[in-house]
Symmetry: C2
Subunit: 461 residues, 2 copies
């Protein structure tokens, strides 16, 4: 970490720790999850960094009421939001609109619907960003570099820069970014506010050059001067991963999986149940595989570890139900007394996921769009079976792994079935050679590189 001696501030909705009241009434800090936190937190712990994040629970609010929080080596400043403001800003504007815009998920004949309810939600989104801006203005040390994480904070920069010209703000988008055609779905003034909000940062970063170019193209199309931009990919922390993989919980799962999948080739996916993850087409492709290559009936198992997410949004509940029905149908169609074609697991258990990633023969990562997709890198780093990666061309990870993965267009069900068949049929020698290159590519970068690039975007000028 090198900010050339300048203090560092991190701003994100979810902080590095959350609080829970223990049985004795004391507030206990717990390390949070997610790629952002697990990537960044170890790097900046004990560095005196200021981390500004939303208080997301009553216990967080209680901790905040006791003043700024020292936890795991951070100075954590909680931002307190009115619960309705938080819900409208985060769920309605962030998750149900901006996420859909950047991933192109809307069914345009019906959604989005920018009505009075949305205007109110947008006002809440402005308020939410202003609360963060106020916390930065009040809490950032002089001359700090401020790393603003992700799209929920897209409007914050203009609310800071005039009041604290000493700060350098860097915004990093963890999603893909919508170019002119995707952003077109967002009417003015929302679209303009969004682009102007981002453009007020000293620099804007994206996981790949593809998303960076889309952002610049949107700025051009809609007449907003683009700020300096950079592309820098996030990667998993190999030590963190190895720690989990070598731990007792993963070992226990590994043992169970070894028994369960003895004699079978295993296709694995590990995902949130999220519209962008393309879980349905993954199963349709598997169904086509079993139709066209009967030799895989009874000799392959598809283990899908997909855990619920955003169940407050009706679309996500419906999507989960469709997944469950589809799995049931395929299992009824092809299953036998001794063989279940698809095993669906919906528990979110990281050691279990890591053990599963250790076991796959084929890892399927086929999102319709994905800013990066860390599973595509985590898998090769922990796999012990010379597993093959089948990877969507619409992920950020594809830009780094294209030479060593089997690429599929996410909508092409037949091509995905063929890629699975190819992966299952590779010889041991081919798998070995491919896996070595895959591990090298997936491990080429660490969170440290990514952090460095964000700092360099403003300190190397």
């Amino acid at each position: 970490m090198d900010a050339q001696g300048r203090p560092l501030v991190i701003v994100s909705n979810r902080g590095p720790v959350s609080f829970r009241r223990a049985d004795d009434g004391a507030l206990v800090a717990r390390r949070g999850g997610g790629g952002l936190v697990s990537g960044l937190a170890p790097l900046v712990a004990d560095s005196g960094v200021v981390w500004i994040a939303s208080a997301l629970s009553e216990d967080d609010r209680a901790a905040a009421a006791e003043g700024s929080v020292q936890a795991e080596g951070f100075r954590l400043e909680f931002v307190l939001h009115d619960p309705d403001v938080l819900r409208m800003a985060y769920d309605v504007v962030g998750n149900a609109v901006l996420w859909f815009v950047h991933h192109g998920l809307f069914e345009l004949a019906r959604r989005p619907r920018f009505d009075r309810g949305f205007r109110e939600a947008w006002a809440a989104f402005v308020t939410y960003n202003r609360s963060f801006a106020d916390a930065v203005v009040a809490g950032a040390p002089a001359d700090a570099v401020v790393l603003v994480q992700d799209y929920h904070l897209s409007l914050m920069a203009p609310m800071v820069v005039d009041r604290r010209p000493d700060l350098s703000l860097v915004h990093f988008a963890h999603t893909p970014f919508g170019g002119p055609e995707l952003l077109n779905v967002l009417p003015d003034p929302y679209r303009r506010e969004l682009l102007e909000g981002l453009a007020a940062n000293a620099a804007c970063g994206f996981h790949t050059d593809r998303w960076r170019r889309r952002f610049v193209a949107s700025c051009e199309e809609f007449g907003v001067p683009a700020p300096p931009t950079f592309a820098s990919s996030l990667a998993p922390d190999p030590e963190d991963l190895a720690g989990v993989a070598d731990g007792p919980a993963a070992a226990e799962w590994r043992e169970r999986f070894a028994q369960r999948f003895a004699g079978l080739q295993v296709i694995v996916r590990v995902d949130r149940i999220e519209l962008s993850k393309n879980i349905l087409r993954g199963f349709w492709a598997y169904e086509e595989l079993l139709e066209r290559w009967p030799e895989y009936r009874g000799t392959v198992c598809f283990m899908a570890s997909v855990y619920p997410s955003r169940e407050g949004l009706a679309e996500y509940l419906a999507y989960r139900q469709e997944i469950e029905h589809l799995v049931e149908r395929i299992n009824q169609r092809f299953g036998t007394a001794t063989w279940t074609p698809i095993v669906l697991e919906t528990a979110d258990d990281f050691p279990r996921s890591v053990a599963l990633l250790g076991r796959y023969d084929v890892l399927l990562v086929n999102p319709v769009s994905d800013g990066m997709n860390l599973v595509a890198k985590e898998g090769p780093l922990v796999n012990r079976h010379d597993g093959v990666l089948v990877l969507s061309t619409e992920t950020g990870a594809w830009e780094e792994l294209r030479e060593v993965a089997l690429g599929v267009h996410p909508c092409d069900v037949s091509a995905t079935a063929e890629a699975l068949a190819e992966a299952l049929s590779l010889s041991a020698a081919e798998r070995r050679a491919r896996a070595d290159r895959l591990v090298a590519a997936a491990g080429a970068r660490t969170p440290r590189h990514w952090l460095h690039d964000q700092l360099a975007a403003v300190t190397s000028r």
Copy 2:
């Protein structure tokens, strides 16, 4: 019409006439509908032009069996397709995929699904295009200019050019065209075949420069050298329109509408029931209008003339049902014994539509995306009430009418409600002044200009 003395060939799926067997068993030609045919047919009738089109019915096939058809002054060459090929090429690939791609209509979490069924349909699409290519190769006079109409024929040009280098092919797209982000939904090799198919024409034309730029951007993004391109908008034929408006059928409807809407301000829309037309949001906006401006309850009527289309596709049936339910709900919410807020008419009757366009106070044209939208020009040309046009910014027509219409983003329900309120509240003098400019802008071009531009694209070089 000036092809500098070169013969002219027109190629389109739907021809200028279709056949029906009369009671005496004779095959009788009937003029076809649609903007393309009504725009082009009068210009080229009696000019000896060769028009190549699909035989779409058994009676068309019977007429074709009797040899090439002389009808209304054209030499009509019917292309005979296997009915399954026609259905897969036109309905599955054309209407259910390419139309959705260019208009951005997919709900990406579930559709499109490029599976074995689609591969078969694509093969039919290739066959369909080859049948047209064969007809052109066999039937086009030496040195002809060949005007290829619309996206169903995107693959034809490469199948012609080597065999008939004397011909100059001009492709015209009546849809919007998908730029890199929209075309991204289409996997290779389909995407590449599509772009290479278009690029083999001597020129490619689009209704607006916006779609033209998107096509060029897609060619660049996906590595296909772009052909010469041009933008040229289609417009309604004012004489044709005046003929209908002055006819007895329209006069009768006009009389009925005068009585029915006496004392009311009338909002009108005239559309196919088509996912891109944004009919639901139009009603949601009207509902918001009635909520926010109670003075329009009982004093306004929304007359929606929307007629069924593509009912072979499940999405279109579902969409029609949603429309009917929404209208019922709004009418139940706001209707009284003497006032019905929305009148829904689903009969496709051109004189009736023209009479309705004569009557509106406000014409709502709010598609989520539309290559041109001729209703936006037809309305002003036949309206007799100094009506105001509320127009989606995502139509081709917007590029020509932006100075004289009230623009709305199609997804912005609240802004649409506000535009309707503004339109309803304009003074008579404001409406008068605005209507004059609107008529001038809507009538600035005729089909003759459009035809001329297509010819000029290859004869002026």
